[in-house]
Structures are given as C-alpha cells and as structure tokens.
Symmetry: C2
Subunit: 483 residues, 2 copies
C-alpha cells in the first residue's frame, strides 16, 4: 500500500455537474453575507446599524408575525396528548387534535403515516378545495407534502426523459421563483423562458407564451408550463380570462400545467381563481388538460414555514403516471406529521359557535388587514423614489420594483465582479442592515434591474425601513450620478 | 382547434424511465394489500383474524411503543410557548424548549431555519458525537436532515456523473435496505452487490468486497461503498476489526464510505463502533478516507418516525464538494423544526439531578430491556420452526430468517406470478393478519428465501404472533410437502 497514491472519490472534477450549475438566489451569496453580519452583530462588531431588517425571505414569523393560536394549540396537544386530559385548551382544539391522532397508526404522531399523508387530512383538504372552488375534488388525487418545494421537485422529476434523444423543456415565467430554475438545472431539463409584462402589471400574455414556445420548440420538446399565481416575486393576481387563455394554450400544445398557488390566501386586490376551478368549468376537450396545483403552509395567514407542510392536487394525470408518482414519493416515507397537522388546522379551522372561533377570526383578520396595509406602503415607498417604479402588489408577500441604476454604479459593480442589482442590495445591506434580493436571482429583461422585498416587516419596522431605504437610495444615486 | 388531436403531456411511454424501474419493497405490493385488508377489517368484512400484526415496518409507535415523555413535553412547549409560563412542565423541559426557541429566528419554530439546521442543535450533536466516540467532531460538518432517507439521497446525488462516459458504481450489501436500490435506480447509478455471509452471522468479509469490486470494475467506476451497521434487515453488529478492514478496502480503492448507522442505539449484543471513531483512530493516510454517517430519530429508543428528524456527519470531504452538497440541500429550505427539536432532545437528554431524569431514564431502560427480550424471542421462534434458521439479532429492530420453501410451494407461487417468499408472506398475511416483508425486497443469495420481521410488536402481541406464525408455518409446509 506504500506506493499507492490515495485519491479522493469525489472532487469538483467528478462531482455531479448539474449540482455545480445549480444556483439558488434566495439562499445565495447575499444570504451568506447576511449570516456573517448577523454573527458579527452578535459578537459586538461595530456596524452602521444595530439591527438587521430581513426583507429577503417570505418568512413572517422570523420577523415578528405571531402564529395563529388555534394551530399551535392543536400541535401542542398532538405532541403531548396528556394535554387532552387537562382543562388548559378549548374543546375544539382538543377535538381537532383527537381527529389527527385517530388518523395516525397507534394514535401517535410519532408513527409514519402513509407516504401520501393521513387519509382524514387528505379528505379534509378535498372538502376545503370543493368549498374554495365550488367543484368536486377527489382526495385520492391529493397528497400531502413536506412543503411545496419538495412537491414541485417530485413532479418535475417525472419529466426527466432523454431516451427519445430530445431534451425536455419546461416553460418558466421571468421573473420566477428560483426553486424552478435550480431544479431544472439539477434535473437537466431545459428552461424555456416567457416574460411577464412589467408595463402591464406583470401580465401573462398569450402572445408572449406563443413566441416563447415557438422559439424554444426548435431545440427541445416542451412538456410543462409553470405558472405562479399570485406571482412570486411579482405580486400580480391572474384574472379568470387570463387563466382560460393559459388553459387553451396548454391544450393546444399538450402541456402539463404546474400551478404554483402557494399564495392563494394572500390576496389584497382582485380575486383568486384556482386553475383547478377554471379548468373544471371548461367544456370538453379543454377540461382534459393535465394540471397539478401546489399549496404550502409556509405562506397564507398561517406562515408556518418551519413545519414544512403542504399539499398537491393532481387533475387529469394518466393513472399509470400517477401510480409512478406516488411510488416515487413513497421512498421518502412520509411528510412529517406535524406539518400534516398544520394542514388539517388550515382546512378545518374553528367555525362560528366553536370556542376558538372568535380569537382565530380576529387573529386572521388582523393579519390579513395588516398585509394589505403593508403591501400598499411598500408599493408607495418605491414609487416615491427617484428612478424606481413598482407595480401594484395585488397578492403574495413581495414587491419587485424596477430600479434605474446609474451607469457609474454599473461600472463600479463590474469592477468588483458583481451584477449591478447585486451591487445595489449588498451596499444596502452593508450600510443599513436592510436585506433584499437582487432581481437577477429571479430573472429580468436584460438591461433592467430589480430588487425583491417582502412586505413582512411589522408596521413600525417597515416605517423605519421606508425611511432608511429612501435615504440610502438618494445617497446611492447621488454618489454615482456626480461627475 | 377542431381538427387538433389532444395528447397527454405525460404517459407511461415518456415518463422518466428511472422512476418506472424504481421499486420500493417496504411500501410495495404487500404494503398495498395490507392497507386494503385494514380497510376491509374496518368495514366489517369477515377475515380469519380480527387484528393485524404489523411486523413489516420499523415503526414502534405505530404498534404500541410509548414515546419518551421528556421529548414530547419539549415538543409541546416549542409548539405553544405559552406553556412555558405554566407550572405544567418540569424546569429542564422548559429550558430545552427555550434553547430551541432561542435558536429560531423570531423565537419561533414557525420560521425557516438555515437549510443545515439550527446552529445550537448542530453544535449539540457535535458534543454528543464527541462523547460517543471520544474524538473531535466539527459541527460545521454536521447537518440536520428530515430523516435519514432524504439525507442519503442528497449525498448519493453528488455522484451522478456520466460526463466521463463511465457509469458510476455504488457498492451495496445484499441483503440491503431497499431505499438504496430504489435511489440508485432513480439516479441511474450502477448497483454493485456484495453479499453478507449468512453462515457467519451476516459477516461482511474483505474477500467478498474484493470479489465484488473486481468483477464490477470491468463495467463501471466504483466510487461509493454503503455499509449498514447495525444491519438492516440482518441485525448484525460489526466488530471494530471488521470496520478497520472496510476502511482499508475503501482506502485502497478510493471509495467514499456511506455508513448507515441509524440503529446505533439499538444494540443488544456486541458493541457499536462508529465508522467515524474507528477512522479517526487510524494512522495517516488511512484516516483520510471519505466518510458520511447517517443518523435518524425514527429508530433508537425514541422511535419518532413521524417527525422526520436526523443528521449526517461528513468526514474528509473535499471542501468544494461539501459546499456543493450544502448548496443543493438549501433549495429545499430546511428540515422541519420539530424534527430538529427531537434531535436536540436526543443529544441533550435530562442528566442526573434534573427533574425529568428519573422518568426519562426509566422509560429508556425499560424500552431497551424490552427490545433485547423481544430480539431473543423472535430469534428463538424462528429457530424452533422446521426448515427455518435465524441468526442472532445483535442490533437494529429486525430478524431476517432463512426459510426453506418446498418445491411445490415454489411452483404454486410461480403459477400466480409471485416470488416464492412473496407468496409465503402474502399467505401469512391473508391467513393470520401477520405482516412481514419478503426477502426478495432486500436481496438474497439466489435460490434462498427469507422474510424480514421487526421485533417491535409489544410483548403480549409478540407471544400471540409467535404461536400463530408457528402454526401457519407448520400448515404451510405440510400443505406443500404432501404427495
């Protein structure tokens, strides 16, 4: 063994090349700098600010949003069922907890559930969807998932197929949520971009879909169309007509629609129509279009990011393909039970007459009102700034304003190897402690620059953020506009 | 559009072929039949039995195992922190809960954590490992995971690389836990099998490793060696010498060792040595071998399957590769926070002098004693049966006895399109309600037949199972041995 030269099994040279390509803006270089600063602040390093304002992640509870009491009380009870014997919690909390425990083998959330989730919870999701859409939902087509990201990956995975020698294309909006581009990179699927029209409040137009499809069809077989509604990072809410157009387009080109509807409860203007509802109301053969819709417990009014709960609903999928999807999901055992419990609470909230109803309704209404206020405030802040324009935040938790970056700043960014919008947000972070994400992480029309902010800082903090950002921006523009 | 013929975007014909190939025995056809029977029993259908005995899955709490009170009390407190203000829970429970909440942004388990898990929990895991192994552990090389399965998949994914035109091989024991074969199928990695020696209590021999490696090296580049210790489904515990041999073998062939050590706390005979410990105690250059070790909260004395908690520890991985692993993990946000909280409780259990210590120690000791009793009982049961032989269950939660299946039964199985051991366990299920998994799901020497049972039914139920299984087996053998 003495003459043997040891070599590592894995190095950058023979690592999965798709993993190398994968980029994930939300948790990218900016995020790492944020974590460093957080540590430095804790260690007492002097900074121009004493607190960070994390407007970079759609995670309300991380910056002061209170969880809904009802949900958390149910979770406490299923975790430690002895609490059911006490007088500490209201009766409806205990009943929901008992429902969940009854759905678990051995009456314990410590057991695996089936890989698709607890039957009773899936059935309740179906009932919830039926009420939402006024149309039938089959619980066998609904499966609980550990958040939406894992669910989206499970479904995109089905389309990896290079056996016919033609690459598989997936249509993504630009701007998009970077989980999609990251997953396509990982799976070797081809990203086919269609642009949302910023000048029309981030509209999704049929013309642009056709243009994009036609162009990309020369080099790949397009099989999937991703639509994010309400939009992330763009905050628009699609009209019913718009959704009908998309369905016709998908029908015409035999595309599977991935409807990312995780912000369906975050609506401040307009009305949310689910793709499922609009699809069901089409006449044959349009109603045969294949669809999967994704929902998450991380957003909405509950904002339970840490519990990793969600669901997907499948419509019109070939039954053999569905079996294979379910089979592939089963290798991971099951979504965590407490995430499933959150789902149950969301689809079976307290109703009028139940003891928890009043508090639940108040907490939810206050939160929704506050979201709407903050959405307006953020939009106004940006539109008040020189060289910045921001569309209406109709839904979701974000604004995605366009920022004119002076040529000198673009040059300065280039000199330090950064993209102009990355340069802007890094300066913003270093000088004010405000953390936002550069538009380049989501995609944007070349030559335009954006930043994404959440609307999640609590009202007082948001007011502070508005002042600081305005000052920073003014100074930044002045600095790079001087001769 | 009238003349247009609508085609589905995805059918069996253009579905990801790797997903089609994927098989997952634990949740396969037997599992589906089990679910049907469960439903039929509930609906009042007459069966030869009134209760199922689910000895098919390593999930103690699903069949009567009580969770550890301390763990569940902490989970209740982090879920609903108002409980911290009550007198209901002991002080050490509240302190652990406060530690976890302090590690969460916004002091809430509803926030995302970093994708690698809460720093304080990772640090505590490092301290736990240092105590376990009497050697240094770096928390930067430890990452929390939603169970071991997801972690194993994340790491295997790194080795997908067809750019050099040579397939990547992964050495798996036979028998093995089918997550591995399923994942290799999904990722298009080549399965290189080495047999455990049943005649030597499922020993892992150097000769067999070399034979397997030599043979398969003709057709692929082998880069990973998977070792499951304690063994699943085989229940053996590797000796220190054995582990040293494996390390030398890995060194010689530049293999990355995947040490599946999820049963490290389930030891009834022998001593558990972690690969990390033995590796650290080797001299250079042997101590440079690349290693990842996996741990799960689903097994051990806690058996918290439903919470999907676990960790992995990386040793000697190229730093650039580690960055890429961490990057690829980040696209899924974070392991669920309550799974992380379970990890914290397991690595920071109550210590002597703390108020929860006595109850915790008793619950744990009772359970470990009961596991040992049941392991012996299961082993004896099988060795008492005609044509059945079973190795000592030294660890883990399973026995994997070899069963002589009469030629006539093999013929009968063939006639109904089943494998002989599948035929046996399906008959067993239909006639007795006992559910075990056929050896063919794990792999076995061709021409031999096995079944895997857990040792998890509670003592009274296990006694019942022993009687029923013995009777069934006698009848089965008689039926197929008669002229």
């Amino acid at each position: 063994m003495d003459n043997y030269e040891f070599g590592k099994s894995i190095t950058f040279q023979n690592l999965n090349p798709h993993i190398i390509k994968l980029e994930y803006a939300i948790r990218g270089s900016l995020f790492h700098r944020l974590m460093e600063i957080e540590k430095e602040l804790k260690d007492g390093v002097q900074m121009p600010f004493t607190n960070l304002i994390k407007a970079n992640i759609g995670d309300g509870q991380s910056i002061g949003q209170k969880p809904i009491s009802f949900i958390r009380q149910v979770l406490a009870c299923v975790s430690y069922p002895n609490l059911l014997k006490t007088e500490y919690f209201p009766q409806d909390v205990k009943e929901r907890a008992a429902d969940i425990l009854n759905g678990c083998d051995g009456n314990s959330v410590g057991s695996y559930t089936t890989s698709l989730g607890i039957d009773a919870v899936r059935q309740s999701v179906a009932t919830y969807i039926e009420k939402r859409d006024s149309c039938k939902a089959d619980w066998n087509n609904i499966c609980l998932t550990p958040g939406a990201s894992a669910a989206i990956k499970s479904c995109l995975k089905l389309f990896i197929n290079n056996t016919n020698g033609q690459k598989t294309g997936v249509m993504l909006p630009v701007p998009q949520y970077p989980l999609y581009s990251a997953t396509l990179a990982e799976y070797g699927l081809t990203q086919v971009e269609y642009y949302l029209d910023e000048s029309k409040n981030w509209a999704l137009t049929l013309e642009e879909l056709e243009r994009s499809h036609k162009e990309a069809s020369k080099s790949c077989k397009i099989r999937v169309l991703v639509v994010i509604n309400p939009g992330n990072p763009t905050g628009q809410v699609l009209t019913r007509e718009n959704i009908e157009d998309v369905i016709k387009f998908a029908y015409k080109h035999s595309l599977f629609i991935f409807a990312d509807e995780v912000y369906q409860q975050n609506i401040y203007e307009g009305i949310f129509y689910s793709f499922k509802k609009v699809l069901s109301e089409q006449k044959a053969p349009l109603n045969q279009v294949e669809l999967v819709s994704f929902m998450s417990m991380s957003k909405g009014y509950m904002g339970e990011c840490g519990f990793r709960g969600g669901w997907l609903e499948i419509v019109n999928m070939d039954p053999e393909v569905l079996n294979n999807l379910y089979k592939s999901i089963s290798a991971r055992h099951c979504p965590n039970t407490l995430g499933q419990a959150v789902v149950y609470c969301v689809v079976r909230p307290p109703v009028e007459g139940e003891p928890s109803y009043k508090l639940y309704a108040k907490e939810k209404a206050d939160l929704m009102k506050s979201f709407a206020t903050r959405a307006k405030m953020v939009e106004k802040m940006f539109n008040d700034m020189e060289g910045v324009s921001c569309n209406v935040v109709q839904g979701a938790l974000y604004a995605f304003p366009r920022i004119e970056i002076p040529p000198k700043a673009i040059e300065a960014a280039k000199n330090v190897g950064q993209k102009p919008d990355e340069f802007y947000v890094l300066r913003l972070l270093e000088e004010t402690g405000i953390c936002m994400v550069p538009g380049s992480g989501f995609g944007q029309v070349p030559g335009t620059y954006h930043i994404r902010t959440t609307i999640l800082p609590q009202l007082d903090l948001l007011k502070e953020m508005v002042d600081m950002l305005k000052k920073f921006h003014k100074k930044f523009i002045e600095e790079y506009s001087s001769d």
